[in-house]
Symmetry: C2
Subunit: 356 residues, 2 copies
């Protein structure tokens, strides 16, 4: 049913690929199946899309509900380790992640749901702290968690708590953004420095201390997106670069739109502390998760307006132009400071597990 369902920007609307690639060589689930990279894409296409889909190309994080006008639906599971990290916790993350998936569809959030899987023995005070964070983030986003569920599993069958949030949002009349809509000539913007969230979680998990503390960028971006769409209603693509980071999100868009995206290495904002930490840890900040950044791809005549709108908002103060869309076949190219170009592919295997 609902054969006319269309896709909107976000992480995995379940729609069947033409030739599902079953991950036959993988007999068991690996940590890398959850990290946003190549193996995860194969699992989603081979197992979920092949069985639950209906014949349209997948790729976006939210799906439009055909029977309901301009309503979109999205869901996310949160398993971040540790539960509390600099700049946020699993509760703030669960609300922001879902609000941002809706925002990336151009939608204003209408309602959220939250389901909790609690490990026996979790201190109630920690649960209360997490739920307080959810409430604060929801207030900031101007949305409510209107229904929920709670399950408890025995000690050792979860890790403190996991939260799944779903969201319903409404796309305003006149707004039409999609991961499939990038066009050659379009300008690629990002709303601020990348890599903060992943490094903040990793540093707390591993007990690393850096000279400058690294704090997660976790924030609800629905207000920022509304400002961008008001200033530049012709924006083609919005996408929040979470798991797998900027490089993975751009790869998804390039594939969905059947274009190439060229990024200027020097233009991608990375905080010095994050750059140093990545250097030390052997990580590429372009692949590190963000939870409060938005990629905006706009036609050239509206790029300035979109950039100004981003920069005028506190959450987009560090926005910059980082590249352009060109003719091509689903690839992302990085133009280095030296003028050379290299392919910025989806990574295979495990960069950072349990980052969200």
């Amino acid at each position: 049913m609902n054969a006319d369902e269309r896709q909107c920007p976000g992480q995995a609307a379940f729609t069947k690929a033409t030739v599902p690639k079953a991950p036959a060589e993988q007999e068991r689930v690996l940590l890398a199946h959850g990290d946003g990279g190549q193996l995860m894409a194969e699992l989603i296409e081979g197992v979920f899309v092949a069985r639950l889909g209906t014949g349209e190309p997948p790729g976006d994080d939210s799906a439009l509900m055909a029977a309901s006008g301009r309503l979109v639906f999205t869901t996310d599971a949160f398993v971040v380790d540790p539960v509390f990290f600099p700049g946020g916790d699993i509760g703030k993350l669960a609300v922001c992640g879902t609000v941002n998936d809706l925002a990336a569809a151009g939608a204003r959030p209408i309602a959220l749901s939250a389901s909790f899987i609690l490990e026996e023995g979790l201190p109630i005070s920690e649960l209360e702290r997490v739920v307080d964070s959810m409430a604060a983030a929801a207030r900031e986003a101007g949305v409510r968690v209107i229904c929920g569920d709670t399950k408890v599993v025995p000690r050792g069958k979860a890790d403190k708590l996991y939260i799944s949030t779903s969201g319903v949002g409404e796309v305003p009349e006149g707004v039409s953004v999609s991961g499939t809509a990038a066009q050659p000539g379009d300008v690629v913007l990002v709303s601020g420095p990348v890599g903060d969230h992943g490094l903040a979680v990793l540093s707390r998990r591993e007990g690393l201390e850096f000279e400058s503390p690294i704090v997660s960028d976790c924030a609800p971006l629905n207000g920022l997106v509304a400002a961008v769409l008001a200033a530049a209603p012709e924006v083609h693509v919005l996408r929040d670069p979470t798991r797998g980071g900027l490089a993975t999100a751009l790869n998804e868009i390039a594939r969905q739109s059947g274009v190439a995206i060229e990024i200027y290495e020097e233009s991608v904002p990375v905080r010095p502390a994050v750059a140093v930490a990545c250097e030390l840890l052997g990580l590429d900040p372009l692949y590190v998760a963000n939870e409060g950044k938005m990629i905006v791809i706009a036609p050239p005549e509206q790029a300035e307006a979109a950039l100004s709108a981003l920069q005028s908002d506190e959450l987009g103060a560090g926005a910059t132009r980082i590249g352009t869309v060109t003719e091509g076949q689903g690839r992302v190219l990085l133009r280095t400071a030296l003028g050379t170009r290299r392919i910025l592919d989806r990574h295979v295997g495990d960069q950072l597990p349990r980052i969200c």
Copy 2:
């Protein structure tokens, strides 16, 4: 925002109780906080509703989204152990549970979401089997899983896999059911024998063999509910008696509506195999979970029509009248075969963990 949001029948719409009872004496999460009984109710009121709610009485499993006409929203986490059991598996359960929460709001399902938490090492073949079950159950219900998410946690941080499903549904014009709507004089019906699901899961988990195999009743009830509402549009309450069983669901309704519910012990259908197994295990079938049954509370003039509609459907073939609503203060009374009456309270503590 959305101060005019109203509640519809189902498991925990987050709305603030007047005096949240914080479970102060409980310092850590216990398994019993997840079993549908008294402790869980206290956790929901004290932690979730107090922090996420808005000032209306909680109680239903779905919540109406004020901004969206007659749309309802619901969510559930599924952590059943074992993942595969007689009559179903976690995938079938995840779809049916959410479809049935929507059905209990009188809503037809529009779309489902599914988020997966996978334990590293889970055989891909088991995941495929679960997703196949989800697809089959969704087809049976005439709904689609349109978006999803996948996270992987290290070995020992989950138990094979957990699934959270959310659902959006639409309440047809003219339908108005709610856990608050039971009235003295109403007739209480149940769509068939109770306790099958809980016993089926428990027997597989514990390796128990009974003379007659006990099979879960797990099934999507949206078609059955549509038939009942077509025949008896004035039905007051629908509720699927899942965790905590029939007794817990009736207690919720009695409290929400501020009435008493009197049940005739002899009229409650229980399969002989389930009755024998409960006797052996020291369980009360009235508190054992169902996943394919519906409580229907109808005004007396439409009770016959509702019962006929139930009995005409394969999934309601065993429907019977089990009691009546009377004046009272949120209590459920059981009238025994001997003519005595006893209070059928919410249970405190752990009857059956991880049953859904």
